[in-house]
Amino acid sequence: MSSLILILITGVGLGALYFLVASGLSLIYGLMHVLNFAHGAFLTAGAYAAWVAIGHLTGLGGWAFPVAVLVGMAVGAAIGAGVEFCLIRPLYRRHIEQVLVTVGLGLMAVALFTGIWGADPQPFPGPEWTRQTTDIGGAAIPNDRFLLIAAAGLLLVGLIALLRYTRIGLIIRAGVENRTMVQALGIDVRRTFTLVFALGGAAAALGGVLGSVYLGSVSPGQGTALLIFAFIVVVIGGFGSIGGTAIAALLVGMVQQMTNFYVGSGIGDVSVVLLLAAVLLVRPAGLTGRTA
């Protein structure tokens, strides 16, 4: 029983990590039809930024970690906005070229991180309390899971509030639905593109930092490794739907953990990609049935 609780909560935590990465991807695809291969780079950049910040902030004691998280998110947001403004925007509506540029950026970023910090994982000094455990129903759950779940929950609520109750959110939702129509109404959708990239970058960076706490280390390839699963989440959830992405992230995290534990390690990853194939073949537009 206690191992089941541990697996369940770890699965939710993993799903939360996927959601942090996938939410930005999903919005970017929904709005701009760009499959952003550079998203893994945003994540890794945020993680390294936080890692560097922690190294310099030892004087702050317990505050070092929250400040480092903010630094990481700021770096992720800045890189996201910069990439959209300088590199994606000039290729307006040429989707294939936009995707190709992000592919190139993703590869360059991993190589650059390897060049600067080396290929080996660097130990990530998370705060003391994330390494302790909490007792739930007889199971000792490491606290980093709760950190992931709380962050993803906050992001989900924040994003839904943004999309539902603000004018910018209205434009984003309308843009996902029918971009041409929004433009015909005299609204400059492109202004929201930078915002969505910045938001996605910040969320991915948050995922990168918390993922590093979860893994205990930060490495150049960690973004790319997560990116494939984030893609799977986005596709299963249906592009551009935040709710769908959240459900899909939970589903993928759970399936992966459960199969890895009960069937055999590594099988979980295979079952997730097969789940993707199955969902796509049965419902090509994803679980939520929105057309991409």
Binding site: Y29, L35, L87, P90, L91, I96, E97, V99, L100, V101, V103, G104, L105, L107, M108, V110, A111, L112, T114, G115, I116, I228, F231, I232, V235, F239, G266, D269, V270, V273, L274, L276, A277, L280, L281, P284, A292
Partner: protein, 374 residues
């Protein structure tokens, strides 16, 4: 019908258009003569003894250079097989590595684990080369666009993860499998026999080029191009877009699987990289670098990519780099960074890739003589 026919004719005319007025008979023969001349040159390379500084590690017929050139040619063929999907049919696949890896691993397992003869191994590879693309294509093509890319990615990842887990000790896990050289004729093994592997690689590339050239000038290729331009229109014309795309996947998969087998012979082993998404992405880079959908673009891109990758690797450990300030040294010591940067630059400033640059320059000159070209 007339619309589509017109579009196709326009394309063909554009492809064969003379660069300027007054193209004479000799220049019309260039598209045939130049490739033949290059082929003859390539066939005779193993007898050439001069060094090519900056491109090859030693003199042309040294084993190291021959090995590198063989790898270039095989990669060129594999890139061409990917171009059948991406450049000619407009299908974005993230799972092409599945076929390459299948070719390498099936032969490595047959030769090394089952003790099969080379002939049996070739039969196994051929079986995979035919069956796997049909199965994967038939399933993945039920969805379109980005969903197709994702389903192919899913299949490739599933196989890659399984192979990395080393089921039953069959695939060698992360280490991969080394080629069982004793099963091969002695001509194909050993350092001094590098020229024979080079000729084999050249034969594979010529085969790929001929198959693709033949198919693209035939009805099949026209249907591929039509699907790339407008799938709905093809359906309206009464052609099956599904079947057209399936032939593209099968041809690409077949050549890719053979390429994987050749790769196994040239590099002497099968490793998980051959199944990885990175391999598919690097194929995409090669194709775009050279020029997607153009006659020689993919091959050129593949050759240039492998040469650059190899040379940059060499450069990254050289003393010139070590003496540079960190701002330059760190990026330059990472070949992938330079390749990625080059790729991004091509996407921005040279759409159509390296092969299109020549045409642009020619047209620019022609434009100075005659009226501005369209």
């Amino acid at each position: 019908m007339t619309d589509l026919a017109q579009a196709l004719t326009d394309r063909a005319v554009k492809a064969n258009r003379s660069p300027g007025p007054g193209r004479t008979g000799v220049r019309r023969l260039l598209p045939v003569v130049v490739p033949l001349a290059v082929l003859v040159l390539l066939v005779f390379l193993p007898w050439m003894r001069f060094p090519v500084p900056g491109v090859l590690p030693g003199v042309v017929n040294s084993p190291g250079s021959m090995q590198l050139l063989a790898l270039c040619l095989v990669t060129g063929g594999i890139a061409l097989s990917y171009d059948v999907l991406f450049g000619r049919t407009g299908l974005l696949s993230f799972g092409h590595a599945l076929f390459v890896g299948a070719g390498a691993y099936s032969a490595a397992v047959a030769l090394g684990k089952w003790g099969a003869s080379l002939g049996t191994a070739v039969l196994v590879v051929l079986a995979f080369a035919v069956v796997l693309p049909i199965v994967v294509g038939a399933i993945a093509l039920r969805v379109k666009g980005i969903a197709f890319a994702m389903v192919t990615l899913a299949f490739a990842q599933a196989v890659a993860i399984t192979v990395a887990r080393n089921p039953g000790g069959l695939t060698g896990g992360e280490e991969g499998l080394s080629l069982n050289r004793s099963a091969l004729p002695s001509l194909l093994t050993g350092v001094v026999n590098a020229p024979y592997r080079y000729w084999l690689a050249l034969g594979f590339l010529v085969f790929c080029v001929l198959v693709v050239l033949w198919l693209t000038t035939a009805r099949t290729g026209h249907a591929w191009a039509a699907v790339r331009e407008n799938e709905d229109r093809v359906e309206v014309l009464g052609l099956s877009a599904y079947r057209t795309k399936l032939t593209a996947v099968v041809v690409a998969g077949f050549l890719g699987t053979l390429g994987g087998f050749l790769q196994l012979i040239v590099i002497g082993g099968a490793n998980p990289h051959l199944l990885s998404t990175e391999l598919t992405l690097s194929l995409l880079i090669m194709v775009v670098l050279g020029g997607a959908g153009s006659r020689w673009g993919a091959v050129l891109g593949g050759v240039v990519y492998v040469l650059l990758d190899n040379r940059l690797q060499e450069l990254s450990t050289s003393e010139t780099i070590a003496g540079l300030p960190a701002v330059l040294r760190v990026p330059l010591s990472q070949p992938v960074f330079v390749l990625g940067l080059l790729f991004v630059l091509v996407v921005y400033f040279a759409p159509g890739g390296l092969t299109a640059i020549g045409g642009r320059v020619r047209r620019w000159f022609a434009g100075r003589h005659a009226a501005a070209p369209k």
